[in-house]
């Protein structure tokens, strides 16, 4: 066992931290209130190679290992969780799906564009009546000669408005398929943007597919492989969101600890009060537990091992810790924590969203239980129990 970051990883971490502090943090409040993610901020992230984080060098990616990628999301999230989630959806859900399941032609067509930020990736799985329940998907893929016609509605499409490329899941004749649908495809319309509690600078849109026609060779993987592609993407995104949660938690501890040295009540800095010490100490402990669970899961991905259960565990845990730590740290700030001109309220709102997006905690909990009980020869299904 070796818990130390490599020389290279430490160098990356410092670079990510500097970027976030210099380019992101000063504008985090402003862009949250405006509910936009400025193009130039994404441009700068692309110039640093962040948008091609784990894409191999042959496709002009930064070829980061997964621990370094975790460090990237963690440090971006410490300043602006919306930006981190945008990058995570782009890299973990879209680019990596193409890398894992795409043909050489698809990889060559899309990965350099994604890595360079010329196209942002969006992941279109959820539907109005099928959030976590993949079997209930109603979007249809009809094969017509060399073409496929897509019809349906997708909701909560992360990066919807920003995207140049959509990874769309639809039910075809042989089960669920996945398609790469460029933004300008006729029949694809980007619709309503969800006004969200948190992650207000990220984009969650409804998209409409009406007779949306793409060539057969835009299908990712073989017919019916969509479910495998989706669950793999969900797994990767789960780890990425846990890294976002880690960034939110550790930066909240930092903000609150600093404040507790400055705020004087009853004649002393509140940091001298045991109740405040407890909040900070518990928050730190939970954050560190999360940190090593996230890093370990990232390490597992690098080892090429299956990480589905670990992904669910770290997602459920990460969302919980981000929620409880931001909650306590907001309490340390008291009234200041409730004001929108300080970062704490934003972190608190952002953290709550992590418990729902990327599959609600209950779904990940189910996946963990299913795995454990299967070891004991009990098979469970999510329906009717």
């Amino acid at each position: 066992m070796d818990f130390a970051l490599s020389e290279e990883q430490r160098m990356f971490r410092d670079m990510f931290r500097n970027f976030a502090a210099k380019e992101v943090a000063p504008r985090a409040e402003e862009i949250d209130h405006a509910e936009t993610l400025p193009k130039e901020m994404l441009r700068k992230a692309a110039d640093q190679g962040f948008l091609g984080a784990t894409i191999p060098e042959e496709y002009y990616g930064a070829a980061l290992d997964n621990i370094s990628y975790t460090l990237l999301l963690e440090n971006l999230a410490a300043s602006c969780a919306s930006l981190a989630v945008t990058v995570a959806a782009h890299v973990s859900q879209v680019a990596m799906s193409i890398l894992d399941f795409g043909t050489d032609a698809q990889k060559e067509e899309w990965l350099p564009a994604l890595a360079g930020g010329e196209a942002i990736g969006a992941f279109a799985l959820s539907e109005p009546d099928a959030g976590s329940d993949m079997l209930a998907l109603e979007t249809r893929a009809r094969y017509e000669g060399d073409e496929v016609v897509l019809d349906g509605v997708k909701t909560w499409v992360t990066n919807g408005e920003l995207a140049g490329l959509f990874l769309v899941f639809a039910r075809g004749p042989q089960g669920m398929d996945a398609y790469l649908v460029p933004r300008d495809t006729p029949g694809l319309t980007v619709g309503y943007r969800e006004p969200t509690l948190g992650l207000r600078s990220a984009y969650f849109n409804t998209i409409y597919l009406e007779g949306c026609r793409v060539p057969q060779n835009y299908r990712l993987g073989s017919p019916g492989e969509g479910e495998a592609i989706a669950s793999r993407a969900v797994d990767r995104m789960a780890v990425a969101l846990a890294a976002v949660g880690l960034g939110l938690a550790e930066s909240s501890v930092d903000v609150a600890a600093q404040y507790s040295t400055e705020r004087v009540q009853f004649g002393v800095p509140i940091g001298k009060k045991q109740a405040i010490q407890n909040y900070i100490a518990n928050a730190y402990t939970e954050t560190e537990a999360l940190r090593y669970l996230v890093y370990r899961t990232a390490w597992l991905i690098d080892q090429g091992e299956d990480f589905s259960v670990e992904a669910s565990a770290v997602k459920a845990f990460g969302a919980r810790i981000a929620r409880s730590v931001t909650n306590w740290m907001l309490q340390v700030l008291g009234g200041y924590g409730y004001m929108e001109d300080y970062p704490m309220a934003r972190k608190y709102r952002d953290a709550r969203v992590l418990g729902i997006i990327g599959g609600p905690t209950e779904v990940h909990t189910f996946r963990i239980a299913r795995y454990i009980l299967l070891q004991k020869d009990l098979e469970i299904v999510p329906r009717h129990q």
Binding site: G131, W156, E194, L197, Q265, F266, Y338, R349
Partner: protein, 388 residues
């Protein structure tokens, strides 16, 4: 023991619920979205007597007691946290000081228009370095003939941006500190020297005014001293006790509404081939919410009964605030989880409830301060004196 509401309180609840659902619920989302203070609602509440719910009839009140006031706050909390906060600051702490320690003349002059909603009150305690630590007040009042001259400022004053009358705590004798050196004044906000410096941009309760106030050589006549000179701290603490109880009542209403919304959604939304109501994870959340809400309801109305029957209630009022705010926070957390994506969207009321709920753990004395109060009272019974 009798746990039923009296006929007048049942009738009062029916009246308030009708008003709240007809007049307030339809605009609650807009108040939040547009950062609009519901002044028109306050005026209408005053017209039908509700802003004087717990004040005596001889001063324009309704005479429905603290129980009636808790019913009002519960029903307002159900439909609109903003209205509950504005009304709570107006009745529960702002006007309450005058009700508790005002002279008959002060009550006639100030409490009557407040009870009728012709004027709006605020409570001026918090300063940038005196929040939970109420004894650390810096605003200074100096006697000059028949008047006092106030200099200083207050922060985070609910209703501060538009109140007509503010009960302000100021230091009259720095040597004596909190006990003996602080005096409560009734300040009319159209007096020269009174200024609203800024409005805060808050995560929630965005349909309420949270203002920073500045006093520069603000002249207050001596007849506007509330209670005795030097005893302002006691006046304010007594008002805060009342405020804490009714804050718990507002949380009760909010949590009850979230429970009902969650039950509705759980029986409507289908996932994995069945309604969420059939998922044990969801059943557990509903059961926990409901149990806590019932415990809170019992606590709130028991304390209201203590107040109405003239018994000591400080300790239990602190528990109401502490427990109420935490029950509401847990309820809203579970409501979001049950609603999923819908719970995160500003198009639906759960998201607003999440942002609104959080302030309850902070204002009117943070929950940490409530715990200090509760622990101190318990230790005192055993001869241990706790200093915060």
């Amino acid at each position: 023991m009798d746990f039923t509401f009296s006929p007048e309180h049942q009738a009062l609840r029916r009246m308030i619920r009708e008003f709240a659902e007809t007049e307030i619920a339809p605009i609650a989302a807009e108040l939040d979205r547009e950062h609009k203070v519901p002044l028109e609602i306050m005026r209408k509440l005053g017209e039908i007597g509700l802003l004087g719910v717990c004040f005596p009839q001889e001063y324009g009140g309704m005479g429905a007691g603290e129980t009636g006031y808790c019913i009002l706050m519960e029903e307002l909390g159900r439909v609109c946290a903003n209205t509950a906060v504005n009304v709570g600051a107006h009745i529960g702490i702002g006007a309450m000081c005058i009700h508790l320690d005002g002279t008959p003349e002060q009550k006639r002059k100030y409490l009557t228009p407040l009870a009728r909603g012709e004027k709006i009150a605020a409570f001026g305690l918090t300063e940038s370095n005196a929040g939970s630590d109420a004894a650390n007040v810096r605003t200074r009042a100096v006697r000059e003939g028949d008047s006092w001259i106030l200099d200083g400022g207050k922060v985070y004053i609910t209703n501060g941006g538009y109140a007509d009358i503010i009960t302000v705590m100021a230091v009259t004798d720095p040597a004596l500190g909190a006990r003996g050196g602080i005096t409560a004044f009734v300040v009319e906000t159209d007096s020269p020297g009174f200024k609203v410096a800024r409005e805060e941009d808050k995560m929630g309760i965005r349909g309420s005014s949270t203002a920073e106030l500045v006093f520069e050589e603000l002249r207050v006549p001596h007849e506007n001293v509330l209670g005795k000179v030097g005893e302002g701290f006691v006046t304010f603490m007594k008002s805060l006790d009342m405020g804490r109880l009714t804050l718990g009542a507002a949380c009760l209403g909010g949590a009850q509404q979230l429970l009902e919304q969650s039950v509705y959604w759980a029986k409507t939304r289908r996932q994995f081939g069945e309604e969420l109501a059939h998922k044990q994870a969801v059943q557990w959340m509903i059961a926990n919410m409901a149990t806590e809400i019932e415990a809170l309801r019992s606590l709130v109305y028991r304390v209201a009964w203590l107040v109405d029957t003239g018994q000591p209630f400080t300790q239990l009022a602190a528990m109401c605030k502490l427990y109420g705010s935490e029950v509401l926070s847990r309820a809203v957390d579970m409501a979001i989880q049950i609603h999923g994506g819908l719970g995160l969207s500003r198009d639906f009321p759960i998201e607003r409830a999440f942002r609104d709920a959080r302030i309850n753990e902070i204002f009117e004395g943070t929950n940490e301060v409530q715990r200090i109060v509760i622990a101190s009272n318990i230790f005192r019974e055993f001869g241990v004196r706790i200093r915060p």
